[in-house]
């Protein structure tokens, strides 16, 4: 059902946990299945220096969260905002069709955190 990559990120999630000195956090819950992600950001000079996450959800949600953090770490906030669900799912070598919505969780959670950061900057 799941790709090796999904299983890898599910069993050994990267950048999981909390961040006490985060510059911004973002929480996003799927209305579809109740899965929820919380994203913590450390930003310096417009660049995501560090990122952590906590996720309640199925294997696809946890793996999407994990790979998302790897995809945007060290990237600019603009890059982060351009990350799409499809990019997350693709990086995981695909998700089962009924699990595609789980990849939204990761991208939307990230976008929420970045928006919160930008709003705080104003």
């Amino acid at each position: 059902m799941y790709s090796e990559k999904v299983l890898d990120h599910f069993t050994n999630p990267r950048n999981v946990g909390e961040m006490t000195n985060a510059d911004a956090t973002g929480e996003f819950g799927s209305s579809h299945c109740g899965d929820t992600i919380k994203v913590f950001l450390k930003v310096e000079d417009n660049v995501i220096q560090d990122i952590k996450f906590k996720t309640f959800g199925c294997a696809a949600a946890i793996a999407s969260s994990s790979i998302m953090t790897e995809m945007v770490r060290g990237k600019t906030l603009e890059d982060g905002l351009q990350l799409t669900n499809d990019m997350v799912a693709e990086a995981l070598d695909g998700l089962p069709p009924e699990k595609m919505h789980c990849s939204c969780l990761a991208a939307d959670g990230l976008h929420k955190a970045i928006q919160n950061y930008l709003n705080g900057q104003k």
Partner: protein, 399 residues
């Protein structure tokens, strides 16, 4: 999907299906290549197999304590459920159009009722309490002069909660309403006697009791006509057309015979193991809830919620460790919402998403339970550590 790695495989999903018993397979084998005839044929090939069908019919009837002529072979439990409901609605349409069932039936009953509802049949879905129990008085009060059928499962497939079938049988008789029972999960795990229970229709499935998939049976009490679901032949006294699944039916007969022989000790062996699993998990893992804990339950079923995590994630970790269990009902694993059974029991939606079902089998041993108790606490902690709903154990109390 995994489980093939170097770990001992432990199968605790016997409510989903069971392995075919070796003695069942042995009994079936001659009916593939040697005794291959169509039992409806008059020649030697047909007459070779028709006694085997009748023998199996007798074995099923003996387990249920009914007449062999009251057994109709089907392809599965779902067919029996559809047949009982749709067949009754059609044959009793002059008498009424109201069915009473429960909110926690298997989808084969619930979805059929919803289908019939669209056709104009009135359905009452009885609620259950927090432990999954029915209110018998409410059931009786729901009966109207237009009620043609009461449809209540013997035991719930997700929680294992057992319904008061004998008491419902008394109520149904008192009001002269036909009573159908989906006994798919109860057969082989509890004594199922259609005379004592006073049921008129009862469905069972072969693959839950060590027979192969693709065969089941419906008990139809004499004097309770049913419009067939499948037309096209004289088989099964014109109640169910279609060439007999001879090997499957032979297998079902042997499985019923075995279930009968073992009823005095197999359930009694499973229950202490289930209790050991339940008490072990309650001791080792904080904030878990046993669903239906204070209701009468099947001896093999344990359904739990693990606060703060999601059931499928836990299942996948168990699978990697070689342990096969299920989240809610295997039939609904494509749905993302919580189980309709836990919803009817009023379980909090977030907590309901963390449900996992362990269902033991006749082969389950103490070492299997020990292994589960070894694996689950660590996996639950790992998932809770990454759950935003578990920060500082701020999650609402599970029980």
């Amino acid at each position: 999907m995994k489980g093939e790695r170097d770990v001992k495989r432990i199968y605790l999903d016997n409510n989903a299906t069971t392995a075919v018993r070796p003695e069942v397979l042995q009994g079936m084998l001659p009916f593939f290549c040697e005794a291959f005839g169509n039992p409806s044929s008059v020649h030697w090939a047909g007459s070779q197999v028709s006694p085997a069908i009748e023998k199996a019919r007798g074995q099923v009837a003996q387990l249920l304590n009914c007449q062999p002529t009251e057994i109709v072979f089907t392809a599965c439990g779902s067919e029996g459920d559809n047949f009982a409901l749709k067949g009754t609605v059609d044959v009793l349409r002059e008498k009424g159009n109201h069915i009473i069932t429960t909110a926690v039936e298997h989808p084969a009953v619930l979805d059929t009722c919803r289908f019939l509802e669209k056709k104009g049949v009135e359905i009452t879905y009885l609620p259950v309490d927090g432990e999954g129990r029915l209110d018998l008085d409410l059931l009786e009060r729901s009966i109207t002069p237009r009620t043609i059928l009461i449809s209540v499962m013997w035991a719930n497939n997700e929680t294992g909660v057992v319904f008061p079938i004998h008491e419902i049988g008394v109520v149904a008789r008192r009001h002269k309403v036909r009573f159908f029972c989906d006994a798919v999960q109860a057969v082989g795990r509890l004594p199922v006697d259609v005379q004592k229970a006073q049921v008129d229709l009862l469905s069972l499935s072969g693959h839950k009791i060590g027979a192969p998939k693709g065969v089941g049976a419906l008990f139809v009490r004499k004097g309770n006509p049913l419009t067939p679901l499948i037309h096209g032949g004289h088989q099964e006294r014109r109640r169910r057309a279609g060439t007999h699944n001879v090997p499957g039916i032979v297998g079902l007969g042997i499985a019923c015979q075995k279930a009968m022989d073992e009823l005095s000790f197999v359930p009694g062996r499973m229950e202490p193991l289930r209790e050991c699993l339940q008490s072990g998990l309650l001791t080792l893992v904080p904030e878990i809830k046993v669903n239906g804990a204070s209701a009468p339950r099947l001896p093999n079923t344990l359904n739990l919620c693990f606060a703060g995590i999601e059931g499928e994630a836990l299942l996948l970790h168990l699978d990697i460790a070689g342990i096969a269990a299920s989240s809610g009902s295997a039939c609904t694993s494509d749905d993302h919402g919580m189980s309709h059974v836990l919803e009817a029991m009023g379980v909090d939606p977030l907590l309901g998403q963390s449900s996992v079902r362990f269902s033991l089998g006749r082969d389950t041993v103490a070492e299997d339970i020990d292994r589960v108790l070894e694996v689950v606490p660590g996996v639950v902690q790992k998932l809770r550590d990454m759950s935003p709903f578990w920060e500082g154990r701020a999650c609402r109390r599970a029980s």
